[in-house]
Assembly symmetry: C2
Homo-oligomer: 618 residues x 2
Amino acid sequence: MPIPCTPDLRWRLIESALENAAPDLLIRGGKTWNAYTGEVEIADIAICGDRIAKVGTWSAALDAATSVIDATGMIAVPGYIEPHTHLSPFCSPLSFAERAVCHGVSCVVFDQLMLALPLGPEVLERVTTALSQASLPLFFWLARTASQSRFRDEEAWFGPEIVRRQLESPSYLGTVEMTRWTELLDKRTAMRFLEVFEQCRSSGKLNDGHFAGARTQKLAALATTGIRSCHEAITTEEALDRLRLGLWVLLRHSSLRPDLPVLLDVIGKTRFHDRLVFTTDGATELRIDERGVSDGLISLALERGVAPDIAYRMATLNPATYLGLDDDLGAVAPGRIANVNLLDNLNNPTPRVVICRGRVAARDRQLTVPAPSASFPWSAVYRTDLLCVPAWDAARFFLPADAPNPFPAGRLVNGAITRVAPTALTASDKGLWPSEPDTLVLAVTDRSGAFISRGIIQGMGAGIDVIATSYTTNAGILVLGRTPEIMAEALKRLRRLGGGSVAASTDGKWVEFAFSMSGIHSTCDFSTGVEAARRFSDLLREAGYAHSDPVYTLLFLTADFLPEVRATEAGWYSVKDDRVLFPAESLSAPWRGRPRFCMACMRPWTTFSAVSARYHCA
Amino acid sequence: MPIPCTPDLRWRLIESALENAAPDLLIRGGKTWNAYTGEVEIADIAICGDRIAKVGTWSAALDAATSVIDATGMIAVPGYIEPHTHLSPFCSPLSFAERAVCHGVSCVVFDQLMLALPLGPEVLERVTTALSQASLPLFFWLARTASQSRFRDEEAWFGPEIVRRQLESPSYLGTVEMTRWTELLDKRTAMRFLEVFEQCRSSGKLNDGHFAGARTQKLAALATTGIRSCHEAITTEEALDRLRLGLWVLLRHSSLRPDLPVLLDVIGKTRFHDRLVFTTDGATELRIDERGVSDGLISLALERGVAPDIAYRMATLNPATYLGLDDDLGAVAPGRIANVNLLDNLNNPTPRVVICRGRVAARDRQLTVPAPSASFPWSAVYRTDLLCVPAWDAARFFLPADAPNPFPAGRLVNGAITRVAPTALTASDKGLWPSEPDTLVLAVTDRSGAFISRGIIQGMGAGIDVIATSYTTNAGILVLGRTPEIMAEALKRLRRLGGGSVAASTDGKWVEFAFSMSGIHSTCDFSTGVEAARRFSDLLREAGYAHSDPVYTLLFLTADFLPEVRATEAGWYSVKDDRVLFPAESLSAPWRGRPRFCMACMRPWTTFSAVSARYHCA
């Protein structure tokens, strides 16, 4: 679906293209890389409103009102597009976008899962609309069709009617990765998704995919479902397999999976490169601070010998076409949104000057306009009363007598994957507890404390005393601790913060960060978020955490699509054989899961009602 | 906008892809060209319903119900797509589509102008829907936003509300070429179109363009209007200019303009070829009979040394992406519509076997299924009472005493272009008449005989005595004759036919063809249409017609966008300076222009009403 443009602005573009009227902004004296032909030519760029009127020599007079940028010695490329990303907790979606624009990213597309879960569909609608409208770069959403950590009443968050309503919004481009893709290959679970995907297609929007580990017949079957893409290839051959099947291949590279060096080899194995696209798939604050966003991916591709034409295409016109936005984005060309990066040269994709939606937004990686995140009415838009961190004492964390002994602990083999590692439990009068070193007891609950799901994690870091966080794929609470007492202490601290992340090392050092927006993210500017993330990461690394990214590790301990064991609402869970190894314990709580709200008056409903597209009191 | 697929069919595709269920059709033992990678690999193709379930080795058992095609020694390529074509008069849209499918074209996209004009929007809606539903290959329409021969009340045919209603139909992909592109550069005329184009975009559909002769600043200004493409490049440089501006370039080759040998040079001048697309832009019956459709264009490209990967892409995945149908068309891949051409080898793009929408439709250029055109209820769907060929006597054709003398005749310089050539008129008691050789008096009226617009054409053929036709861009009546008497005779014959084409040479030979569908096209099967077209063409060529195609020459004598003089409702008209050189004469007639109908009861309205989206009696 296109980005709207009024007929009045179109007429201004025509008038400026004919040089009958001066533009609002003229970028003068530079060269331009053409995303359609690969040519580089000297050209001025005339801009009216948020669109490009002309690319070529400007010969006529200018108004006093015309701003002029001297681009002599620079080369213009299209604003970069990040087509698949996720929220990070230490900053806000807006401050992420503000940092991204400093790296030349003028269009970001977000998964809304981490807002949908804590807020519910009613508040979510208000929040996603407000964020899209406030953002500096173009800011779109993809709608979740399932959770990443199954829970009761999941359809009230992700059902067909909820998704249909979300897709009516111009800020939604389609649906986002269905991570539990095995459900698409089982008729009992598949039909609902196939209906949603088709509904999404019929509204002219796209289904973004996620087929991690799918191969041969299964992968081929998944390619028939109406899903357009996959970003889960981690080898050259996996990337090529997906491309052959007609899936757009999003080549991923970030702290989660730094696979680009391998994935780039696909370029030499296909005659066509127009369906290859870069994505970070949710880089964390630290990663962005160190490596940039799309600019970092282009840079890496150039270092690996990828032709500049292909490297820039994969961050510009290719993702624009993938998203169905290529009439409006992806090129420095007449009629397109004026997203233009001015580079010193094509070897350095981090822009000197970023023109975003028709105005200069950044120079030398610094914003030149006020940051919308600083003035956004966070508390008025969000509901921050939707997290109820339970006040559990230490006794609650013991494993009960009926727990398996030895217990099927999850040993981290990398930042995301666990393998079952049985560990002996020692009995005391309060319950069972593990005794091996580098072993943490895990407790997970939802946003109301309505259950406790217990497990054991090994290999997190021998010097870690405790971690508690409200940034998990179930949008609930996760506590990992060496003793019941320290877990109760961390939970108390988390409760005081109103959600966030808390950690302590065995030498008694604590770090604490509030994620003030319902426990999911802070409202910090990006630099402050980077500092917070760094302190959190540093403490854990000093305490022995040795994997790619502790934020992802914690996030995914509740995810029901990653091998091998996880903590879910049902209990300690073996993903591959879909089996609960140790059931969760049900508790009393103010509500189960999350409260829901009337779209009209925003009063909470006391009980869940049937899924409804309207969800009004009336 | 995508082509719908039910969740039930999706599930069948998944089951077949997993080899849990046998397909309806299995193409076995051949190779397949991959439109995404350019690879050629041995693969079976399993098809369920109208979609591809699997491309790869089929290992499981088959049902007795599974049809099997042995493709040993053959190579599968995607069904070709003709993205921009026009109706031809000697056959029907359905019989064109039936011939096209024999050449491997499984998706055709039609301009509906030549149906819109004679039928009016109400009957048009019924006709276009019925034709799309009846067609053998996929059959889409593009909506006209303006005529090619201006007339009063034009907005009742092409206004925003009419177009909006048309675009609601799934058989419409967008709007079609606005040939009078100069109106887009004049605010008085542009705003209506800019609004329509934006409305079309906002419904997820495309604006197809036509910027014949536009260059530099004007072309660049046209690229800002929200139009996606242009098929009017006639030189390499024009093609490259359009590509640079972000327009999809439809490389045209047909009897109208055989430009491919020149246009193909653009391939060597751009790094990227994904926005280059083949089109015939409305090949006539004779041309198709001699040179095929898309297969002929691919063949020519291969002869000129274009790499097969690029040549096939320009008829398959590229046009699918241009049309926004690439999730459903353009590749032999899972989930796509099962449009598959089996070739002897890539050097010969005319298929041995054509699978269209999941069933074998043609072998060796012969249909293998019943032709829908043979059973289509033509007279029930169309209104054939909307043409009133006037009963004018010879006196009506004389030029009156106030005609310019010498008269600014139009001399044909090729099949489409005229240049002003003043010619002396000789007076008699009945009026004025030219006396030079190879000079024909022209008379044009509308479908009711409500005016007569007179002119003179030279260079049509010295041995031509008369031509009369109801196949003109104004959907009215055109008569060209050497004497007033022979013009009256031709008109009488045309009246008897109920519309069609009539011609006679000076040695007294006549040909006559009825276009029984409201004077616009016949209901012939394609081969019969070819024979009729050949006899018509042969008579004119024997009588001295020496240009590309007489059908186009006649069609365009009423077109108000081609240089230099034309006959329109306003009179004998100079296109470039927008000036009437000799006004038309108004006459009394049963209606002016065309009657309109109530969408509900199909009763004609006696008078025009305001443009309305509903146009109901109530």
